[in-house]
Symmetry: D2
Subunit: 313 residues, 4 copies
């Protein structure tokens, strides 16, 4: 990256982590995936997020994954890396490794496992930010972290320069709308991204700066078109594209009886494999795989939307 | 310890981690604390649990804390160490370091941050157990992990020999009672400990094998007497001792407006410091400290119960 | 109402229930409020909803409130009435009274207090629908009911003709988006309204048929303009209006330390009183009132937005 | 009742509501059940609780059920009646009907559906107490009411004389233990009953005054023996009886795939029917019934414990 602060707006997919059948990293598929995403027009890459199954990776694996993404990207787009750890000291240690491996920015959550106040969570972000030489972002994902980053906390950290932006996966659209307005009123200290791939048109209308769609691993072009349509104020085109995308998103409702992690990322990987984007749909160790019937339903949706390669169909 | 499988029954305190004013480990106080606990008659030590603020420690700090506990214990009592990490591969890595540092057994939770099924959680425990050469225990603490280990899961893992016991901090006394009965019916594959220090008499009456009381860092003798009374069937004495202990436990209700971690462990450390058991009441980094008024209320309770040293009073 | 099925699209405010200082119904203010809302251009009225504090009213009071609303409306707009009760038999009894009092349609929630399956909740709606001669609507408000109406349940009931529409106050924008798409694919058996007043532009872009904004009690004209702008595809105008409205909505963040009911409806009533729309800001019995400082902050926001009458300013 | 204040200690079953196949009240079975319970030695009756499916009954049905219970009891034991309604005004209306029908005391919960502070909940109880001429009790059942009655609230209301006692179904044994201690320290303004039928021995050891066990509808004698054993300090006998009772309680784990209401009360009614205590196992309208396989499993448990009548076996 250049010496200037990287900007993360537009479409910034959370890059999936392809795996070999023995659950080790499939670096060849990862390189292909990164190239494919950049060719599709994404404006940045989010490495080591929930979609990247980072929680299941050892630190060595995390560093290796990031190195491949950074090396393949070759500076074409900036790379922000998730440092998902329990608490500040541990997050800072990990973040330093990720910066050394080429991350242009770091994103982290509130502490895990602990029982903290918003004041302690603020101190957590300050401690991490002070330990790294690149911009820090906040990741708000209460379904996994089990605490919500408050509007006041985020604005405070933004005004202090502790965090540069927020990836919002809170599912709280009213709260996000309030954050957008408060950020605007405060002079836009924060860049605000939504993680909810099914409502991007609506969130862009409301003022979001970009989107981090896991589904973009399956098809990124639609999100690039959607973001462009919104940029030129063509909201009907944005909505039409969103509705087409949402038909793809139906793949995540095909598995039955599996866990949240097995279902979402599992459907993405099954679809990526069906489209030839990765060599195996293997999940991280201890996560169950989709059964054949679910894979066939996923493929059926892709076929209907003409998203399978000719040879495959 | 001897070559035989360590048993963890009776009173097994989760050892607090004393810290110097700069938030680094206070090994001298830790040695004194371990000696004190063993002298008080505890039957084992639980290193690196929630009370030990293990979530806030780096891996190097965790290993250092455990080494001090093991070295000070000198095999007088067995040591079980918490390996609190996100997922199986990471937990196994950490657990191996802890075993190398002298842990006689390992205790871990369900995965953190992830969204897993009970089948995936079972696989998580199997993966960790297969990676270590010492007994594995399950730690059920939904308030922190945000998933509950089901009775069926625990019994299955017990019958497979994957786990040797459970530390129950679920707050679900009906569920724990059912687990006690089901374990009995299955031939007692599991050793069952309660983590709820205020209801130990009742849990022992119900059949628990032991207790892991954070409050024992403040005063362990009462729990030792309580367990002995229960062992000889003197339930009135057990209850009387429990009620005295619960008056001590009132210290955790003295802080106001602090987080769960700052309140509970904060009150323990303030009381330990007041009793002269550790040199500083310093909390782990990013956790707030009790204010002076709260510390005075804690000391007031200790004074009333004649738990302050003469010189201090 | 006419013999034809009433349609509820556009802006359908949940009518607040003005009260006298002794907490009895202030029918004179209610008449004035209803007239004001209809003059402002709303397309229907939602009587006896959460904003109407219906939970705090006896059945006699509920009937009296509804009679006043219906009588004042004089058929200018259709009236849908909330029948909020514990279970089907009780809801049906109440709904029959409300239909007799002039309700054109009834809206109800899943059962309260009970622990039911989705199949039982479906039966609940079928039982209520069979007992009344007017259209039934479903009200999805998990923050109060503590269960979520599933997409499958709503579509099934819609296709059976059991329910005619849904008022969505679930706060789950992704779920609502999926419901919109599934309803479209099923031939639109349901009319879909959002209850979230801060994101109406986004929900209309996504395809919602209308909105039930509590804030319209304070100012309905903005929502009428917003809905019209969306109808002609002028999304920038819709967003601009929404952002102005959201500045009004800041009134609900002015009270401090009060309950959810005291805060939201309390701020609405304080603002309505300040604007001269009702004679007293009195809340239902057992709900706390805003203190003077909060009332002043509410008035300050109204003044800044030029929403106070000249005489008042 | 006599002119003196009724006391509710010991075993006070929440009386089930037998129904005819058309879901109307089966008064003949109800009379038989009440007689049976009193003969078994219970010290009071809790009419119209959750086990009594009161949430599914209309007010007329509630009054009718209570009349039958009171008439059958003939003053042999006191009767406390649940007034389960949304808010204070509605609860007071209902409670007055129940007092007129013979209730010796009323028990109610925090408001339903609403979003209230503890201060508003206190006012709720004060309003209800002021409207009735008999003692009021508080029912703490967060799994249904979705708010928890705090220790401070309960003690305050007890010291004011607003409430006479608490039925605790919170599942929070630590909180209940603290309440027992605080009540003792305050001079015992409250009578404290546990609703958790599987841990009665432990709760009595901790100081509970009695128990409200739904399972006593199936077999009350065991609870009577358990309470007597605890009373004479024979805790081993109490525990042995509890463990036998818990084997009966396994009936509630036999249904599969049903709702909470269908499962718990459904298993009780299936067992009561199998034992000949009631004529039909019919559930309240909209609640699903146990399938034949589940009924057979329930009967199998009863048979093993020799709880089926000779003629039935």
């Amino acid at each position: 990256m250049s010496a200037s602060t990287p900007t993360f707006t537009g479409v910034i997919p959370p890059v999936a982590t392809p795996m070999l059948p023995d659950h080790t990293i499939d670096h060849a598929s990862l390189e292909r995936l990164v190239d494919h995403l950049i060719s599709a027009g994404v404006s940045g890459l989010f490495a080591l997020g929930s979609t990247g199954e980072t929680a299941y990776l050892t630190d060595d694996q995390r560093v290796a994954v990031l190195r491949t993404i950074v090396a393949t990207s070759e500076g074409r787009v900036p790379v922000i890396a998730g440092a998902i750890e329990l608490t500040a000291a541990r997050t800072a240690e990990l973040a330093q490794k990720l910066v050394a491996a080429g991350a242009d920015a770091i994103v982290t959550t509130a502490p895990l496992y602990t029982l903290n106040s918003q004041a302690e969570i603020a101190e957590h972000f300050r401690t991490v930010a002070a330990a790294i030489g690149v911009p820090l972002w906040a990741y708000d994902v209460p379904v996994r972290v089990h605490s919500k980053l408050s509007l006041e906390l985020l604005l405070q950290l933004g005004s202090e320069g502790v965090i540069h932006g927020v990836k919002d996966s809170s599912g709280d659209d009213v709260g996000f709308r309030r954050l957008l307005a408060a950020n605007e009123a405060a002079g836009r200290p924060l860049t605000l991204l939504t993680g909810h791939e099914m409502v991007v048109d609506a969130m862009l209308l409301a003022g979001a700066d970009g989107v981090v769609p896991g589904l973009a691993n399956v098809e990124a072009e639609g999100y690039v078109r959607l973001f462009a349509a919104a940029g030129r104020g063509d909201w009907d085109a944005a909505r039409t594209e969103q509705e087409r995308i949402n038909r793809i998103f139906d793949i995540v409702f095909q598995p039955a009886g599996l866990s949240g992690d097995a279902t979402g990322v599992g459907a993405f990987k099954a679809a990526m494999h069906a489209r030839g984007l990765i060599d195996h749909a293997t999940m991280a160790n201890t996560v169950e795989s989709l059964d054949d019937a679910a894979v066939q339903r996923v493929r059926g949706i892709l076929a209907e939307l003409e998203l399978l390669p000719a040879a495959v169909v």
